[in-house]
Symmetry: D2
Subunit: 256 residues, 4 copies
C-alpha cells in the first residue's frame, strides 16, 4: 500500500503574537513541524503546541530556523556549517525536552525557511544539519525537499529522511521548485494541484512546468493552514488521497 505523510508548520506564535490556526490544522495532518524559538515560537508556545499535537495524535517534529525573528527565518544568512550544526542541535534539543516532558517522543526534524532552502543546494550545510540531527538522536527522520542535498546528506549521515513535495508549486526539469519570482511558480488551480499530488504520490512522477515528466520521491506533503481556504484545500487533498487508496500516515510509521 502506498503511504504518505502530511506535514504542516505549527507553533509559530510568539508571546502576544498569534499566527496560524493550529487547532484546526492538527486533525488534518499526520506530522507537525513545531518552531523552536529562533525564527518563531517561544518556550510557552512550544509547550502548548506539543501538548496539542500529543492530544490529537499528530507526530511531532522540530522545525529549527535561522536566528531571525523579525525576518521569520526567511532571509538567507551566511551561516557556516559549524554554526548550522550548533543551531540545529540547540533547537532540536529544546523542542525534544518539551516532547519528553509531556510524555511523547520526537519523530523528525524539518529545517525552516531559508535554512531549508540553502541546505537543499549546499552539500556542506546539508551535511552539518544531518550530522546535528544524527548526533542528537539517530532515530530522528530528516525532512528535505525531494531530490535535495538535505535528503542526500541524511543518507550520508546514516539517518532516515522523508522526501517532501509541494502541491502548489511547479517543478523544474532538474527536480527543483520553480523560483517564486518566475511566472508559473505557483499552481493556483486546485484541481491541477490535486492532480500533481496524486501523480507524485501514486506514480512517483511529476510533469514539470516545461512539460517533461520526471521521477519524484514523495514521502511527505507540505500542507498549509493559514486560513480557511487552505484548510479546506487540505481536506480535499486528504479525500483525494484516500479515494486513490493512499494511506495517510506519520512518516515514522513507514519510512525506513
Amino acid at each position: 500500500m502506498i503511504q504518505v505523510d502530511l506535514n504542516s508548520d505549527l507553533g509559530e506564535s510568539f508571546g502576544s503574537y498569534k499566527i496560524g490556526m493550529d487547532e484546526a490544522v492538527l486533525p488534518l495532518v499526520t506530522s507537525a513541524n513545531i518552531a523552536c524559538g529562533f525564527h518563531a515560537g517561544d518556550p510557552a508556545v512550544m509547550q502548548k503546541t506539543v501538548q496539542m499535537a500529543l492530544a490529537s495524535g499528530t507526530a511531532i517534529g522540530a522545525h529549527p530556523g535561522l536566528p531571525d525573528l523579525v525576518g521569520f527565518g526567511r532571509r538567507k544568512m551566511e551561516v557556516s556549517p559549524e554554526d548550522a550544526y550548533c543551531m540545529v542541535v540547540y533547537q532540536v534539543g529544546a523542542l525534544a525536552a518539551f516532547v519528553k516532558s509531556a510524555g511523547g517522543r520526537l519523530q523528525h526534524v524539518k529545517p525552516h525557511g531559508a535554512l531549508f532552502n540553502m541546505a537543499a543546494k549546499d552539500a556542506r550545510l546539508a551535511d552539518a544539519i544531518a550530522a546535528a540531527v544524527h548526533d542528537v538522536d539517530d532515530r530522528l527522520i530528516l525532512y528535505g525537499l525531494s531530490g535535495s542535498e538535505l535528503v542526500k546528506a541524511a543518507g550520508r549521515a546514516g539517518i532516515r529522511s522523508a522526501s517532501e513535495v509541494f502541491a502548489d508549486r511547479s517543478y523544474q526539469p532538474d527536480g527543483s521548485l520553480t523560483p517564486r519570482s518566475r511566472a508559473g511558480a505557483m499552481i493556483e488551480d486546485e484541481e491541477a494541484s490535486i492532480a500533481q499530488v496524486l501523480s507524485m504520490v501514486v506514480k512517483h512522477e511529476v510533469r514539470t512546468l516545461s512539460g517533461e515528466v520526471i521521477p519524484v520521491q514523495a514521502d511527505t506533503l507540505c500542507v498549509h493552514g493559514d486560513g480557511p481556504k487552505a484548510l479546506m484545500f487540505s481536506q480535499r487533498i486528504r479525500t483525494a488521497l484516500a479515494e486513490a487508496g493512499v494511506g495517510i500516515k506519520a512518516s515514522g510509521e513507514f519510512i525506513r
Copy 2:
C-alpha cells in the same frame, strides 16, 4: 568520608564577546554550570564548553537564566511559574542535546542570577523549576542555595538536590546570605573565607555575621574564575579541603 563538589559558572561568552577563563577554571572544579543562551552563551559557545568540560572530566550542568542578555540575567523579572517552567525546560533541553551529541550525560541544573535568587525565596517559582528539571530528566540534580525554597522544591518534586554554599559571603541567622548592600556582606579576608568553607563542609555549621553558629548543609561550593586572583584562591580552597581530608567530587558521585 566527607565529600564536597566545587562548581563554577562557565560558557558565558557570546559571539565575539569573551567572558571568563574557562580553560583555567575547568581543572579546578568538579562541576561546570554552562550558560544556555538566554542570559549568556550561544549555541557555538555551548558546544565548545561542553567539549572542554568532557575533555577535562568535569561534570556538566545546565545554567538556565532569564531572557535578558543585556542584563546578564541579573535583573529580577516578573515571570510566572508557568513561564519559568517553560524557560527551564527549553534551556536544559538545549544544553542536554549538546552534551548528548558529544557523548556525555547531563548531571545537574543550577538556575542563574535573578532566577536563582527569586526561586530561593518564592516557593511557587521553585516548584515550577523543580518540576521542569524533573520532567526533562528525573535523574538530574537541582542546585540551590542551602536552606532555600529551591532545595525544598527538589524534595517535593522527587529529584535530588545539592545545597550550595559560598566562601566569600557572610550569613544571616536565618541561613540566608547577607545582602550585598549591607556592610559585612562580603568576606574579603582569604583566611576567613577558607575557615568558613571548612566549617561549613566539615562541621556543617557557619558563624553568622552577628556571631551565632547555625547549621548549614554544604554539598557544593561556588567557585569564581574571573581573574588570576580568583583562580589562585580556588586552588587554595582545594588544598585546604584536601588537607582536611575532604573528598572533592562531582555531586553526581555522592548525592543521593
Copy 3:
C-alpha cells in the same frame, strides 16, 4: 472650551506578526503612541505606522517599553533609573528619526506597559524618564497616569505633561486605578464608562469604586482598537464628547 486628546497604542506588529487594527483606529484618535522595537514594533512597522499617522493627520508619539518582546513589555523588570533613561533616549530617538524622515514632528512620549506602571509609583524612575524626554527634545509632552509620579516628574524636568484617564477602569480614593485583580476594577457597562469619561473631562472629577467623588485631571483618554467592539465604543465616546461640547484635539494643540 474644554478640550481632550484621544490616544491609542499603534504600530505593535512585528515582522510577520500582525497586531491591531491601526488603519481603523487612526481616524478615531488624535494621538498615536507608536511602539519603538523593544516590546513591540520593528523598523519597517515603525516607518509604515508613522506614514499612516501623518497621512491621517494624527499626532505622533513614541511608545517606549522594556526590552521584553516575548512578554510584550508587560512584565516588571528591575531596571535602574540609569537604564530607564538610556532605553527611553534610544527608543524616542529611533522613532523621532522616522517621523523626521517622513516630514513630520514628534509630539509626545508615552511609556508602555510595565515601564508606565512602574514609573507611575517610582519617583526616581519617573524622573529618569522625564529627563530622557527632556534631553532628547524639551518640546515633547510626557503622557502619564493622571496624578502619577510620571506627571509630577515632567513638572520637575520642565517639560509639559498630559494626564491620562481611562474609560473602562474604576478609580481608588487616592486617584490610582483599582488593580485588575480586584472585583470592580473593570467597568463593563458602556453607559457607565461614557458617564465616567464625561465626568472626568467636563467636571474634572470621578466617582471612586467606593463612592467618593475625587478631583482628576483629564488631558488625554486612552482608547483601545483591538477589535470591532472597541472601535465602536471609541466612536461612541467621540460622539458623547462632541455632544457635550468638548473639543477633541491632539494634546500638542492645547497643553501648555
Copy 4:
C-alpha cells in the same frame, strides 16, 4: 594643505561584555563610529561612549549594522533595500538622540561589517542607505569604501561622503580590497602599511597587489584599537602623517 580623518569603531561592548580599548583609542582618532545596538552596543554603552567622545573632542558617527548580535553583524543577510533603509533610520536616530541629549551633534554615518561590504557592491542597497542618512539629517557625511557604490550613492542622494581607505589591506586593479581569503590580502609589514597610507593620502594613488599604480580617494583612514600593538601602530601613522605635513582633522571640518 592635505587633510585626512582617522576613524575607529567604538562602543562595541554589550551589557556585561566588554570589547575594545575605547579610552585609549579616542585620543588617537578624529572620528568615532559608535555601534547602535543591532550588531553591538546597547543603550547604556552608547550613552557612555558618546559622552567619552565628546569629552575627548572626537567627532561622532553612527555605526549601524545588521540585526545579528551573535554574528557581530559580519554575516551577510538577505535584506531588502526597504529593510536597509529602515534599519539605518532607526539606528542613526537612536544614536543621534544620545548625541543630542549630551549636547553634541552627529557628524557621520558608517555602515558596519556585512552591511558595509554588501552596500559597497550593491547599488540599490547603497541608495537605500544613502537615502536613509539623507532623510534623517542631510548634513550627515556617509562613510564608504573609496570607489564603492556607497560613495556613489551619497552623491546621488545629495549628501556628502568620505572615501575610506585601509592601511593594512592590499588593493586590486579595480580599486577593491583583495579578499581576505587570498594570499597578500593583509599587509603585515608596518613600514609597507605606512608607505601605502602616505601614498594614498598625499599622492592619491596606491600600488595594487599586482603592481599597477591606480588613483584612490583617501578622506578617512580606518584605525583599529583592539590591542596595544594596534594602538602603537595608530600612533605611528599619526606621526608619519604629521611629518608629511598632512593635517589630521575630523571629516566634518574639510569634506564638502
